[in-house]
Symmetry: C2
Subunit: 220 residues, 2 copies
């Protein structure tokens, strides 16, 4: 290897190309691993029961509904070289940014999270959203159910890039707002949303009927 | 009028037939009035900007998506006589109950809320719901955005009947849960959900990006 090639390699190691694109069935194994990591992060692994098959059936049903009018996953891929043209994305134009890293990033999970699209792309995060509705506004919005960046890649603006992708889609579709839920102990998540301009809605609390309770009501 | 007919009339006045059915475009004027009353009740009229036209466009788009896989409204109609067969309900079998009233109910809004289906039916409430999704469970659920019974008809089990209709649908579709949001000062609403077996999810807070903030993010 010539010294100039080595220099180039070091240079690219301190920056990375990030691409957000619509997920499809091929991404399910990575999405499954990411959701498990999110459950570990939120200390809620006792609630985690998704399998690759159940994710595939529910996120990518057949026939499929249009993205952003039903459950939608965007995956964040990273590459040390520019992405090749994506001729397979008529429903959502991929968002690509060059991210300057302060220093080279060690990603111990790079092999596990290799993209099914090859080209040395590594999946670093995802966002799962679906439409919600406000009767007061008579407008659709987008609700972010899950947003996650793997530990090695945090604090580099990638979460913000994912949230901005959803917000941009909402604006483009003329929607009224983007909502999400945070755990009240997760001060980093609350700061993340507030830094993006979100307000924590003060008076609303979530009420939840779980499956066994549903059955009881039906038997009435 | 014979005395026996008068006696029958008095008897029916102390009970009423209640029917929950899928709304359609004809119900929009009543839905609009009900949402306005809900905004008044929640002290949130400053957020109320829905019009009949915007409700019609967003709740009943063309082509329409299947009910309960998109935004769905069920309306609650009341009648002093049994409902005639509803031949126009292939997507959701109407739920009918006879409700015993402790005493005859004075409904000062009966004319305003006359059902577009005639037959002396009065619209007394509604529920607006749509599917949500849990990545941990890889399951769909139903989210209740609005549930409302007009003042004259409260405390007679009609809200419970509306919630049970949604819960029954969720159970039938194999969904994982039914969620809703309450205002933390609305102790009656919290008690209503808790009496139905719901738990108030302790640690979750809602973060919201409103329209102007969305635009700012897109411009980044």
């Amino acid at each position: 290897m010539s010294s100039s090639a080595a220099a180039t390699q070091e240079e690219t190691a301190a920056s990375v190309w990030a691409r957000i694109r619509l997920a499809d069935r091929r991404d399910v194994p990575n999405i499954h691993r990411l959701i498990r990591q999110l459950a570990e992060f939120e200390l809620l692994t006792h609630l985690f029961s998704a399998t690759e098959a159940s994710l595939s059936d529910t996120l990518f049903p057949s026939p499929s509904l249009p993205p952003f009018l039903s459950f939608t996953v965007l995956v964040l891929g990273l590459s040390h070289s520019p992405f090749s043209e994506d001729g397979d994305a008529p429903l959502f134009a991929p968002i690509v940014r060059r991210i300057d890293l302060e220093s080279a990033v060690e990603d111990p999970e790079a092999v596990e999270f290799a993209s099914p699209r090859g080209e040395g792309i590594v999946v670093a995060g995802f966002v799962l959203c679906f439409p919600n509705y406000s009767g007061y506004l008579a407008k659709l919005g987008l609700y972010i159910e899950d947003i996650f960046v793997r530990a090695a890649w945090r604090r580099r603006g990638l979460g913000r890039m994912l949230l901005a992708a959803v917000a941009g889609q909402a604006a483009q579709m003329g929607m009224g707002r983007v909502d999400s839920c945070v755990l009240d102990w997760n001060v980093n998540a609350i700061k993340f949303y507030e830094d993006m301009g979100a307000e924590v809605v003060p008076m609303r609390r979530i009420c939840r009927l779980t499956m066994n309770k549903l059955a009881a009501l039906v038997d009435e």
